[in-house]
Symmetry: C2
Subunit: 194 residues, 2 copies
């Protein structure tokens, strides 16, 4: 399992084997059962995560009680809430494992210490976040520019496995549509392929 992480670190840094070893020893890998909540909307997150295996859903419930899924995280994706700007840094979202999962767990308390000890780690983190930001901006731009049907097709193309991995009503909410519409879109696409 750790080799996924090694591969990932090598891709982003020029750390030696030993340096990687040292860092790895301070990391903490944990198993999670399906249904486990990482942290809840309204709580202050104290940890961040990097998924080695499994799937996590991010959602929130608005004032009217409606539930919106804003993301699904899978293998090699990082989960962290950045809300330095919020007065009370409470999370707007709940994160829940919708499959059994294995993750690297980072403690936000000791984050800056780690960076001070291993400056390369801060560079790696910065680059990961930059990449992350780039991807989110790209997804956002694509989302803005497309209709619900196009959004579904894009997802089908970019994350084909996800569609069967998660409940359809959650997928619908992630696409910004109702479950009924998603059902009709799938029907339309199957009837008239191409």
């Amino acid at each position: 399992m750790k080799d996924i992480l090694y591969k990932y670190m090598s891709r982003w840094t020029s750390l030696t084997e030993e340096e990687q070893q040292v860092i790895m020893e301070q990391l903490h890998i944990e198993q999670f059962k399906k249904g486990t909540v990482l942290f809840r909307q309204g709580e202050v997150p104290t940890r961040c995560y990097f998924i080695l295996k499994g799937c996590v859903r991010q959602y929130s419930i608005d004032e009217e009680g409606r539930e919106t899924t804003s993301n699904f995280y899978t293998e090699e994706q990082a989960i962290a809430v950045f809300n330095h700007h919020k007065p009370e840094r409470l999370s707007d979202y709940t994160f829940i494992c919708i499959e059994d999962a294995v993750m690297v767990v980072g403690d936000l308390e000791t984050e800056q210490d780690m960076y001070n000890k291993h400056p390369q780690l801060e560079t790696m983190t910065r680059m990961m976040i930059e990449e992350n930001l780039g991807q989110v901006q790209e997804e956002f731009a694509a989302f803005i520019a497309s209709s619900p049907e196009e959004r579904f097709k894009t997802l089908q193309h970019r994350r084909p496995l996800l569609i069967d991995r998660v409940p359809q009503h959650q997928l619908a909410s992630y696409l910004g549509i109702t479950p009924e519409s998603l059902s009709r879109i799938k029907k339309r696409i199957h009837q008239a392929p191409r």
Copy 2:
């Protein structure tokens, strides 16, 4: 003009006056006329920007020739394209000044040098990007969960000045709707306020 930047740096770092001075001397502030293109879709960006004054529109043109506005950047916002993951790191977007502008210009070539010389600068950059990522994720989540009309109201609330600052058809494309729909939405809202 530079005081905006001082204020900003103080908010994010614990650099001394002198340290700030040193960094500032290496920064480069530039003026731009309305209509200036910072870089074009298909080009490799070599610089990044931080807006002190003015407004920049980010857009792209897809295969079918349709133009989509994916963002408007104004005072105290940073412009940078992160596409480490792309093979050819070409920008998907064009960035154009839609007002006369003043910006801090950063050279991407010397970025890592700067960080090595001033580790605090890397920390500041990381935190800025983290905050940026947090905001984009938040906006994205809100966008997914709302109808075109709600999206317009949210924008009216969060960036009221923007609505009069930019052409309506570009604003419509930024909201993911047609100019006609935007026109109708505004009419609806004015007729039945509240």
